[in-house]
Amino acid sequence: MARQILRRLLRAVAALLVVTAVVFTLLHLSGDPAYILLTPEATAEDRAAFRAEYGMDRPLWVQYGRYLGRLVQGDFGQSLSFRTPAVAVALERLPATLELTLAAMALAVLISLPAAVLAAVRRGTLFDRALMIFTLIGQTVPTFWLGMVMILVLAVRFHLFPASGRGGVLHLVMPATALALWLTALLARVTRSEMIEALEQDYVRTARAKGLTERGIAARHALKNALLPIITVMGLQFGGLLGGAVMTETVFAWPGVGTMILDAILKKDVPVVLAGVVLVAVGFILVNLLLDLLYTVLDPRLRRA
């Protein structure tokens, strides 16, 4: 067990190295921040001083090595455009992203799980078919388009919700719903097929033979066994969303991690982009690690591994 965790951690670190190296190179290839961030009137000396201040006059691999060195000490550098610690710029947006992600996740789980379990139990009925059509549509409609249509109808036409920004619960309704649609479709699809498979197992027949109610069988026997893959999907999605739902956040001008990284990329604010990407990658890796631990808790058979 401990070895397994150690191995996963090592791989996680390797992944982080690759991610930062790729982003670092990309940012470097894209041009000189000294020309983007300084005013056009700046002299050659000004630019040289700027580069020297941020160590940009050194070779790329030296810059990367230095960056890693500072990173190990928890120093992500200063934001080039805000002149504040880059990690603070990134962390500042985390609550907004968490709020949106958790709301969408909760909505998706509350809708998809009961609906999918019911569909699996009543396989082939009208309800089951309706759900399958819904999942097909849910996985087809682009989130950002749905967001715009919601703004069009619910905000512009009927003035039910504010069109953009973050504030109270009303602000959250549309972005969370738009984001939840795809998640709901995915979770419903996975849950339904896992439940159908679980319901075909021998222990379900045994339970039925013992005279348990169908409801009891579905909830206590089948769902319990179908839960592992469902949790996997939920976890991976949550991990992915920590990077901010870039498209949803953009459409609704939601001040989350996604829009932050997008802004920083467009401004070529190197330290902030890197801090954001590292944050995202760490979140994703942590979620993966937690999932692996969770498996062994939920499924004793995996403990022997």
Binding site: W145, M148, R189, T232, G240
Partner: protein, 326 residues
């Protein structure tokens, strides 16, 4: 589906694009296509795709106007049934360009890009998957670590960074799209090669003294065509969405060339006043993606009846086997 928010990283291994190793093992001629509903779906999906392709190919004939014919006197005309005229059935944009014509020409851009990228990604991914699965050892480790490295990048953010920083040229767009898909092929093909390596027909070929290249390309490769075809269908849907997402952010095809994503981007600025600018390109995307997804779903069910209506999630161990050498 990674372009959909949330699927960003995880999507590679799931969503409708997931084809389990079981699917990979499915022989190409598993069973004649079932009739009825399923065949209808295959037909439906295929019909939508073919119509979209025909529209793209015949854009010059179908489109009532050129995609960049501006007429400022007729700017922001609503669709014909909403107060506009039939000369611009779906209305006009702020430059007075015909929305219908731009959607028709946009099909050319969006579909060609997605289709071309899927093809390139398939060739690269299948080849690397074959090599990786057959060669094993260091070659396998190298290719698979490239796959893993890429999967640990949040794809959409990476794509945005790539396009924003290196410039939104057509070449870069294709590179970004290919990068999204090759991994899926490589993983899928590798897993099926691993399972086929121990099968009798391979052992016999080896025993008869066939060379590695001949075994891989003559005996093994034909068996991965079917699952690769299924994946291609889903990847087409995926890449259309990725392309439109990038276009929406202003990082895709540059004006005046129309693509469905860039039309949405423009429409967003007129959300309050011109609903048709956002609605119709979006519907074009949805319809095409739906066609590709339906086709993929039906194709998978046809090629491997065991997988019917199963969108299986990778389990803990299974997920690991997919990523590591099993």
């Amino acid at each position: 589906m990674a372009a959909q928010d949330g699927g960003e990283q995880a999507g590679v291994l799931m969503g409708p694009a997931t084809v389990s190793p079981a699917a990979a093992e499915a022989p190409a001629t598993a069973r004649p296509a079932p009739r009825g509903r399923l065949a209808g779906l295959v037909g439906g999906g295929l019909a939508i795709l073919l119509i979209a392709l025909a529209v793209a190919a015949l854009a010059d004939v179908i489109a009532p106007r050129g995609y960049d014919d501006q007429d400022l006197a007729f700017a922001l005309q609503p669709p014909a049934w909403a107060g506009g005229t039939w000369s611009n059935p779906l209305g006009t944009d702020p430059l007075g360009r015909d929305v219908l014509s731009r959607i028709v020409y946009g099909a050319r851009t969006s579909l060609l890009l997605a289709l071309g990228s899927v093809l390139i990604a398939a060739v690269i991914g299948v080849t690397l998957g074959l090599v990786s699965g057959w060669a094993g050892g260091r070659v396998d480790a190298a290719i698979m670590s490239a796959v893993e490295a890429q999967l640990s990048l949040p794809y959409l953010l990476f794509a945005i960074a790539f396009m924003a920083l290196l410039g939104s040229s057509l070449t870069n767009l294709v590179i970004v799209l290919v990068l999204r898909s090759w991994v899926v092929y490589a993983q899928l093909v590798r897993v099926s090669v691993l399972s086929m390596k121990t099968r009798e027909f391979v052992t016999v070929a080896v025993a008869l003294g066939a060379r590695a290249r001949r075994i891989v390309f003559r005996h093994i490769a034909p068996n991965v065509i079917a699952p690769a075809l299924v994946v291609s269908s889903f990847q087409l849907a995926e890449l259309i969405i990725v392309e439109s997402s990038l276009g929406f952010l202003g990082l895709g095809v540059q004006p005046p060339t129309p693509s469905w994503g860039s039309m949405l981007s423009q429409g967003r600025e007129y959300l309050g006043s011109a609903w048709w600018l956002v609605t119709f390109p979006g519907l074009a995307i949805i319809l095409t993606v739906l066609g590709a997804n339906l086709f993929g779903d039906a194709l998978r069910d046809t090629l491997d009846p065991r997988l019917r209506t199963r969108a299986r999630a990778p389990r803990g161990r299974f997920r690991r086997t997919l990523k590591e050498t099993s």
